[in-house]
C-alpha cells in the first residue's frame, strides 16, 4: 500500500509554441507512515508531480501512477476514490475558503459522503482539533475574517476531515510567521504519528525538510536528480549548490568548516549534534583549551 510513480513524463501544451516538458522519467515512492520531502527550484516540476498523485493531472500511459495498487490511468471516472485517499493541500490554501462559517467550510469535503449531521459534526470537530483549533470557539466564525495562520489551519482541516491516508502539502508554511510555522510543522508531525498518515511535503525551507523528512527527492528541470535520506542528500553540497538550492544551516556551517578542518563529519543536520561534532573535533585537534 503506497504511492508509486514509475518513469513518468509529462508535457504541458503538447504541440503548441508554449509546450513545456514538466516531468522527465520521474520515479517516486511514498510508503505508509513516511514523511517525504520534495525540494527543487521554482519550475522544476514539483507541483506537476504532486498533482499526478491525486489525479488532478492524468497519466498518459497505464502503470505510471499507482495509488494503493490502483492505476490512475484507469480511474478517470472514479477519481473521487483517489481524491479521498490522497488529500492535496495547495500553496496558500486559505485562498480556497468560501463558506460563511468555519464549520460549513471544513465540512465541504464531506458533502458527498452522506453523513448524518452528528457524524459530520464529529468529523469537523476532530479535524479542527488535529490542526489545533477549538471547535466551539471557531465553528460559527467567518473563515474570511481570521488571521493568516488560522485560515491556513482551517484550509488544512478541510482536507484532513476527509480522513486521507496520504497528505500532500505544497509549501505549507510559506508566508507564515515563525511561531505559526513552528506549530504548523508540529501538527504535521502529529498527523503523521497519530493517524499514521503518509506525508509528502514540498518546501523551500531546507531546515524544515531536514527536520521532518525521512526521505528527500531533489528535482531539477523535471527530473529527480538526487534521492535519499536527509543526511545523504545534504552531504552533496556541490551538486545542491549547482542546482541553486541552499543547505540546512548546520550542514552549511559544517561544510564551511570542512574546507580547513579536514576530516570533520559533515553528514549531521541537527544543530545540537552539529555543535557536538564541532566540539569533539576541536578537542581532538587540540584547538579547545
Amino acid at each position: 500500500m503506497s504511492i508509486n510513480i514509475n518513469n513518468l513524463s509529462f508535457t504541458y501544451d503538447k504541440g503548441l509554441v508554449f509546450e513545456k516538458k514538466a516531468l522527465r522519467n520521474v520515479s517516486f515512492t511514498a510508503n505508509p507512515g513516511e514523511i517525504i520531502g520534495i525540494i527543487g527550484q521554482t519550475g522544476s516540476g514539483k507541483s506537476t508531480l504532486i498533482q499526478h498523485c491525486n489525479g488532478l493531472i492524468s497519466p498518459t500511459e497505464p502503470n505510471q501512477v499507482m495509488v494503493d495498487d490502483l492505476d490512475l490511468y484507469h480511474m478517470k471516472k472514479t477519481i473521487s476514490i483517489i481524491r479521498k485517499k490522497v488529500g492535496l493541500v495547495f500553496q496558500y490554501p486559505e485562498a480556497q475558503l468560501f463558506e460563511e462559517t468555519v464549520e460549513k467550510d471544513v465540512a465541504f469535503g464531506l458533502k458527498h459522503e452522506k453523513l448524518s449531521p452528528e457524524e459530520s459534526k464529529k468529523r469537523v470537530e476532530t479535524a479542527l482539533s488535529i490542526v489545533g483549533l477549538a471547535y466551539e470557539s471557531y465553528r460559527d466564525k467567518s473563515p474570511l475574517l481570521l488571521s493568516g495562520g488560522e485560515k491556513r489551519r482551517i484550509a488544512l482541516a478541510g482536507i484532513i476531515v476527509m480522513n486521507p491516508q496520504y497528505l500532500i502539502l505544497d509549501e505549507p508554511t510559506a508566508g507564515l510567521d515563525p511561531f505559526a510555522k513552528k506549530s504548523l510543522l508540529e501538527e504535521i508531525k502529529r498527523i503523521n504519528r497519530l493517524q499514521n498518515v503518509t506525508i509528502i511535503m514540498v518546501s523551500h525551507d531546507m531546515d524544515e525538510i531536514a527536520d521532518l523528512a525521512d526521505r528527500i527527492y531533489v528535482m531539477d528541470k523535471g527530473a529527480v536528480v538526487l534521492h535519499g535520506t536527509p543526511a545523504e542528500v545534504f552531504s552533496q553540497y556541490d551538486q545542491l549548490e549547482a542546482l541553486g538550492l541552499s543547505l540546512p544551516e548546520t550542514s552549511r556551517l559544517l561544510h564551511y568548516l570542512s574546507k580547513t578542518w579536514k576530516g570533520i563529519d559533515i553528514s549531521v543536520i541537527d544543530p545540537l549534534l552539529g555543535a557536538d561534532i564541532i566540539f569533539k573535533y576541536m578537542q581532538e585537534q587540540g584547538k579547545w583549551n
Binding site: 504541458y12 501544451d13 504541440g15 503548441l16 509554441v17 498533482q51 491525486n54 488532478l56 473521487s80 481524491r83 479521498k84 488529500g87 492535496l88 493541500v89 495547495f90 490554501p93 485562498a95 480556497q96 475558503l97 468560501f98 465541504f108 469535503g109 464531506l110 458533502k111 458527498h112 474570511l144 478541510g158 482536507i159 476527509m162
Partner: protein
C-alpha cells in the same frame, strides 16, 4: 493550464515575423478595412482570392495554421446554425435541387450558405491575424491612438486604454487562479461536471466566491501600487516605447490597400 488552452481570446503568439514587427496601428486599421471589404465582395471567386491573400499573410506571420483553425471553434455552433438556416430557408425561383417532406433546398440557398460561411471564416481569420501577431500592450496603444480624436469630444481615452490594458493584463492571471481554485476544490471532493443545471451552477460557488475575494484584493493592491507611483486620472502621460511609423509600415499599408482595392474592383 486547461482553461488557458481552451480560451484563446486575444491570445498572442510571440514571434519576429514581418507581421509581428509592423506598427500595430497599421495592423488595426488594415484589419478594420479588411472586415469592411469582406462585406463589399459579391462573388465566390472574390472570396477565394481574399482567402488566398489571407493565407499568404498567415504564412508570413509564421504562426501555425492550427491556431487560426482553433479560433473558429468557439463560433462553430454559430457557423452550423447560420449555414443551415441559409440552406433550408432561402427560397429560390428555379426548381429545388433537393426535396424531402417540407424541406426544400434551392441553388440560391446553397450559394448564400457558402457566402456566409466564407464571410465568417474570413472575419475570424483576419481578427485572429491581428491578435495573434500583436501583443496586448501594443494593441491597446494602437486603440488609444485611434480613439484620440474622440478625446476632444470629452471621451477619457487614456483612461479607457488604461482600463483595457489592465483587463488584458489580468485575463491570464485570473484564468490561472480559476484553474488553481478548480483543482483545490476538486481535491476537497467538489464536482463540476455532474448533476443537473442547478447543481452545476451551485458547484460554481466554491470557485466564484474566492475568485471575487482575490480579485478585489488584487484591485486594491494594484490601486495602491499605481498611486504610490503617482498615477493620477486625467493627466497627460508619455509612453516608454512610443509607437513610431517606419517607411516599411506605410509601404505595406499601401500595398495592402492596393490589393484590397483591386479585389473590390475586379470581383
Amino acid at each position: 493550464m486547461e482553461l488557458k488552452r481552451q480560451i484563446t481570446l486575444g491570445q498572442y503568439v510571440p514571434g519576429k515575423s514581418i507581421l509581428h514587427t509592423l506598427d500595430p496601428r497599421i495592423k488595426l486599421l488594415s484589419s478594420l478595412i479588411l472586415m469592411v471589404v469582406v462585406f463589399l465582395i459579391h462573388s465566390v471567386t472574390g472570396y477565394l482570392v481574399m482567402l488566398g491573400v489571407l493565407m499568404i499573410l498567415v504564412f508570413l506571420s509564421r504562426i501555425p495554421v492550427r491556431y487560426f483553425i482553433n479560433g473558429l471553434k468557439p463560433i462553430l455552433m454559430l457557423l452550423v446554425l447560420t449555414v443551415s438556416l441559409q440552406v433550408f430557408f432561402t427560397k429560390g425561383t428555379s426548381e429545388p435541387l433537393f426535396q424531402w417532406w417540407i424541406v426544400k433546398v434551392y441553388q440560391e440557398g446553397l450559394v448564400a450558405a457558402v457566402f456566409i460561411l466564407l464571410r465568417l471564416v474570413l472575419l475570424v481569420f483576419s481578427s485572429s491575424l491581428l491578435t495573434l501577431t500583436t501583443s496586448p500592450m501594443r494593441l491597446t496603444s494602437a486603440i488609444e491612438f485611434i480613439l484620440k480624436p474622440f478625446s476632444y469630444l470629452g471621451l477619457p481615452t487614456s483612461e479607457i486604454s488604461m482600463m483595457m490594458t489592465i483587463a488584458l493584463r489580468f485575463i491570464p492571471t485570473i484564468l490561472e487562479e480559476t484553474d488553481r481554485l478548480i483543482k483545490a476544490q476538486s481535491s476537497r471532493g467538489a464536482e463540476f461536471e455532474t448533476g443537473n443545471l442547478f447543481k452545476r451552477l451551485q458547484g460554481l460557488i466554491p470557485i466564484l466566491v474566492p475568485l471575487f475575494i482575490s480579485s478585489f484584493r488584487r484591485a486594491d493592491d494594484l490601486a495602491i501600487a499605481m498611486e504610490s507611483r503617482c498615477f493620477q486620472v486625467g493627466i497627460k502621460r508619455t509612453q516608454m516605447h512610443p509607437l513610431v511609423f517606419r517607411s516599411v509600415d506605410f509601404l505595406s499599408f499601401g500595398l495592402f490597400l492596393t490589393i484590397l482595392l483591386l479585389i473590390v474592383l475586379f470581383f
